[in-house]
Symmetry: C3
Subunit: 349 residues, 3 copies
């Protein structure tokens, strides 16, 4: 993993919207860069390098005064655009004194940063995770701090066969690994579709449907490069449609994932579990969130041990199975983004 595995010219989720608050400085490392986040009085969120221009003291240990950041060490003041507007004991301010700031946008309950060329930072490129704040959907989520490269988390989600082995008893059973799936892809996207027909549902889904009998279960994985996933999952009574069960008679969830490299070997993993039924029932929201949290804790354990094994076996490489078709397309889309960036940088030289 000596090479950089993540692109810069893309939007990364850095925090839940409520984590970035007015007057409070939040430090967080994104793509191996220490950043600091805060919100101005008008509600706009700001991202800047967490190192003072002068002597690199972390601005996140300073304070916010009138929407500006004051360095904790010598009191230099930076306005939200990163320009230094006050230096101690001198009236003339070095015109080059500034810290780098980054485009930061609130969208779908998350804050998204653009680490690359700011001229390319089009908010329309933020992936669609509208299920997080659509009034027709209810749900909640949280953040997993994963001690593994972010692409291992992408691999994990692009192939749900692992549910049979890692999540046996909750959402996994033998039927998942046995069902066929279909992989498609487009510019910067990949999709894996799996229908598991006419099977007894696993425990979690049986409870959600609340009806006895076999179900048709679907898992449709919508990936947007480099690391956003909207997972369309649900079950419907078997035989209510053709060739697959009728969604309108079933129960449906959208699990959203925004997966952000912290370093090459650690990851901020933001997820939310949303549903479009019984949406006013806060108790069900809690049951979903806590159920999913337990499932992801199992993934966390396997992914962290996989990361450790990668480091302990530098002579070994990955091989692909048929089930890796989706993950392979996801990694190819990411590689294309990184290559495109590097080509641009070479032209700029």
């Amino acid at each position: 993993m000596a090479e950089r595995t993540y692109p810069f010219n893309t939007w990364y989720a850095v925090a839940w919207d409520y984590e970035i608050a007015e007057g409070r400085l939040l430090p967080r490392r994104i793509c191996n860069k220490p950043l600091v986040f805060y919100r101005k009085k008008d509600g706009t969120a700001v991202a800047m390098d967490d190192a003072c221009w002068h002597r690199l003291a972390p601005l996140s240990k300073g304070k916010v005064v009138n929407d500006n950041v004051v360095c904790p060490y010598h009191g230099l003041v930076f306005e939200p655009g990163g320009r230094c507007v006050h230096m101690p004991s001198q009236e003339t301010i070095n015109p080059s004194a500034c810290v780098r700031t980054y485009p930061l946008v609130d969208r779908h309950r998350l804050c998204w940063v653009w680490m690359g060329d700011p001229a390319l930072a089009d908010p329309n490129l933020i992936p669609d995770l509208h299920w997080n704040d659509d009034p027709e959907w209810a749900g909640d989520g949280t953040t997993l701090h994963l001690k593994a490269n972010y692409l291992l988390a992408v691999d994990n989600l692009m192939d749900l066969t692992h549910e049979t082995f890692v999540h046996q008893g909750s959402i996994g059973n033998d039927a998942v690994a046995e069902a066929p799936f279909r992989t498609t892809h487009g510019p910067g996207t990949a999709t894996v579709t799996r229908w598991i027909l006419n099977q007894e549902p696993p425990a979690f889904w049986g409870e959600q449907l609340g009806k006895p009998g076999p179900v048709d279960r679907w898992q449709i994985i919508h990936f947007t490069a480099p690391s956003t996933i909207a997972l369309d999952v649900g079950v419907a009574p078997a035989g209510t449609g053709a060739p697959e069960g009728d969604r309108s008679q079933g129960v449906n969830g959208y699990i959203t994932f925004a997966i952000t490299p912290e370093t090459e070997t650690t990851t901020h993993y933001f997820w939310a579990a949303n549903r479009n039924f019984d949406i006013d029932n806060q108790s069900r929201t809690t049951i979903w969130r806590e159920g999913v949290r337990k499932i992801f804790a199992q993934d966390e354990a396997i992914l962290e041990s996989q990361q450790q094994a990668i480091e302990a076996n530098p002579d070994k490489t990955f091989y692909d199975l048929n089930i890796d078709a989706g993950g392979a397309w996801a990694r190819r889309k990411v590689a294309e983004m990184i290559e495109a960036e590097q080509a641009t940088m070479r032209r700029a030289v």
Copy 2:
């Protein structure tokens, strides 16, 4: 310590026989390789790389089913020879899918692995530590996990002069450092013989002999490269033989050591303290084991601080004293093994 300090074409003890059990996966790093061990229903012990062929997930977190290992992540199944016999969601198995396995043999209450060329793995090359399971001997031991290079432990055992300074009061006294010794060597072996004549025994040996008066004490160190030692120790009443005391009137122990590199700076150190008298007395077995354990804890402290000093003083080197004759032969035998291996590898290219 940038170069590898251990050979591969040799048998290393990896575990006590009872540690490797049927249906249980034991992870352990040997020669810087993560391995996993288990026992088949027929009692045969198996060693394989602890990383799945597919994505390197540690097999040791999976399970054993019908003598096969099932990967915890995607359920790939490997038979005891390392060949993959099941892949999820596909019927055709990639014929190259396998994990490396290693010859593993039970001998003298330990399990021994061969990390190098399996064609050379002759069980007759396993060093003789029969005192560990010979019915004429009784004893017990355990494992020390040492945070030091394995050759520092070999040095330590090849020169028992250190008993005077490190183990004063239990087995060490001034007489040890003052007594002359003799060093001999053969192919892959070295021996150091020391008789300490007509001296008051140190506390431990006085208690074992149970007779007052001066003793002739012996320490005969049998080294087999790279890191097995059988230490023949005992005392006999002085003057019962010539030129040395009569062993048959004394008490005798064989302390066995199988010292295995975990990494370049950590070591699995398996030892057992055996004796050929009062062998049905379990209480004496316990006294020996606990007495020796305390003595080795003193060695552990000095060896770990020596390892730290080596790392903290990269500009310094070792110098030899006369007492290092045995250790110097031991290191030369190890160096010859490594050179022979490297010559073979060059010819193979």
Copy 3:
């Protein structure tokens, strides 16, 4: 920080005098070298490499016998000059067997070592910190173990503007950052002088003076390369002299600092807070020491976070403000010492 940031041909404080005691071995790393210190029966302090000539075992885990050091592992004995005077089990001693020793001098309640060429180790070069043991002054101090490069601590002390931001409420207020200052320098020295005229004193100084009304406050920073500082601070009633207040009507302290590199990123920071009034009042001595200790804990927090930020932002550098004039001279004097040493070493080749 890949290059060495500290010179060797200079005196570094390594311990308070009481820390180096007769018959006790004190290990401490200085300029990235593990050393061991002890005191002979005649009171002379000794410094030597903390690694036995033979196998690098740390001598600090051995013992002192008749002013000599006995290695804990094999009992080699080194006299205070570092020469080996006893080897186990042999009568002839290798004449080259020795450990390096270093000039070590007691001065001003501290022990000072010379890590470089011993021919240059003139005790007259030890910086003047006589306030630590002058009978006209009273005070006390202690040691801070700082996880930051030693020059960050020098920077911190050469510009007291940071008091306004880091120590607001105790010794800092806005007046400090606003007051002008003057920087001068000489061979191996730099001085920063700041008078803050006709201001309400900050809390600490108001209590010391014990008189109401505005004060003239002074901060005169006397730096001796590479890392000793005598800080002359005090307040006098405003208007008692011209152009500045009359010191004889005020209160005066000398805070002394001897700042020693442990490694490139850690520092031994010896300080004492002395005063020349009410000197028999032990309670006031304690109040000063504890007050200063709290202030330095604030510096410790900011300096350690600065060190972390430096390591986390390898692409960033330092920029200077006007307030850095003193620190810039200090760093230049240190750089000159290192360059002079390297020129000498080149000539010696």
